[in-house]
């Protein structure tokens, strides 16, 4: 009974089941009223891995190749063979073959994502720095850079912390937030903060004995301007809130009896 149904379907939709001419199926489907879903499962259920339930001749019959052939006068419909293109220009065999077969390593296409930002850290949050030159300082979080590090500023006028990168693990996020509208931090990324490469001058004999600590690392004026630009907007927002300026100017410290695991930041 199932076979008769499948015959009827096959005769009604001539291209169904033909893998060669499957491209035309969607067009035909549009022509015929009810659109038929393309068969997704194989007609040959597997009994054991590698062994199907039906033999080759049974599968020939199930796929309806006999019906397709009947429809096309005894032979399976084919595309015209592609016109043979001119043979590619002959490549000369290389003169030199390397002695050993060297395996070329597969190029690494992995692009690491920036570290997942903690939910408590949002732009404008006041953070406490836990380590480094500015430990204990309360700073304002601006944004996360593509490397995963956090871009942070004191602001410089308030507590001496410049635009700086900081790792998320060395920071405690407080619940205090500063309004960041009006601050544009788009121009800052990791390249802005990389150290400039010292030009390696070849040392001649005479120069070898000279100390070359003459280059003083003065901060370029444009970095100072960037700092001012960011801070001017921020300080306005900070002064609008009572005591926030003093809060940011003060450092955090643990006192006697303070237990960090019980503190709510």
């Amino acid at each position: 009974m199932i076979r008769s149904v499948s015959y009827a379907i096959l005769l009604g939709w001539p291209f169904e089941g033909s893998t060669v001419l499957r491209i035309s199926l969607p067009l035909l489907a549009l022509a015929m009223a009810p659109t038929k879903k393309e068969r997704t499962a194989s007609r040959n259920p597997s009994l054991v891995r590698g062994i199907g339930k039906f033999s080759r001749s049974k599968m020939y019959h199930k796929r309806g190749i006999w019906a397709i052939k009947a429809k096309h006068g005894g032979s399976f419909p084919r595309h015209e063979p592609k016109p043979a293109s001119a043979p590619p220009p002959a490549v000369k065999p290389p003169k030199f073959y390397p002695a050993d077969d060297v395996k070329t390593p597969i190029p690494n296409r992995r692009k690491p994502k920036p570290t997942k930002l903690r939910a408590s850290i949002t732009p404008g949050t006041v953070l406490i720095l836990l380590a480094g030159r500015f430990m204990g300082k309360r700073v304002v979080f601006l944004k996360q850079l593509p490397s995963g590090l956090l871009l942070v500023t004191g602001p410089f006028m308030i507590n001496g912390v410049p635009l700086r990168r900081v790792n998320q693990a060395y920071v405690i996020a407080t619940s205090t937030k500063v309004d960041l509208s009006g601050v544009n931090v788009d121009k800052f990324d990791d390249k802005y903060f990389t150290k400039e490469k010292k030009k390696t001058t070849k040392k001649g004999e005479g120069e070898f004995f000279e100390t070359d600590k003459e280059e003083t690392k003065a901060l370029p004026q444009e970095k100072k301007d960037d700092q001012k630009a960011v801070d001017s907007q921020l300080i306005k927002a900070i002064e609008a809130v009572e005591d926030l300026k003093v809060y940011l100017g003060a450092r955090f410290s643990l006192r006697s009896g303070m237990k960090p695991h019980e503190l709510k930041f």
Binding site: R118, L130, S253, R255, K259
Partner: protein
């Protein structure tokens, strides 16, 4: 602190005491030390797991400009029910450290 800071000294670490090595009655395992963190005496110790800690000591000779030396370590896991933790240091702590101070920092932080 050792940098000769002029400004205020902030304490961003919790004080801890080194109690000794992980041990049974007659065997001790020096690769793990036991540390009692100040102010913690129950299961709340889980907050400190993973935090870095340092044992600081002084030596007679100056290395890298200072006489202070340190051994870094981490809080590994709680030990028992009373707030003691097990700590693993980069190199095992010397026995003279028993009873002495250790600094447990608040980083890597998760707050």
């Amino acid at each position: 602190m050792v940098k000769g800071r002029q400004g205020e000294r902030v304490r961003l670490y919790v004080r801890g005491t080194i109690l000794g090595y992980k041990r049974s009655k007659s065997n001790q395992y020096e690769n793990t030390s036991l540390v009692q963190i100040e102010g913690v005496n129950t299961k709340e110790v889980a907050w400190y797991c993973g935090k870095r800690m340092v044992y600081i000591y002084k030596a007679k000779t100056k290395t890298k400009g200072t006489r202070y030396r340190c051994i870094w370590g981490k809080v590994a896991r709680p030990h028992g029910n009373s707030g003691v933790i097990r700590a693993k240091f980069k190199s095992n702590l010397p026995p003279k450290s028993m009873g002495r101070r250790v600094r447990v920092f608040m980083y890597p932080s998760n707050i």
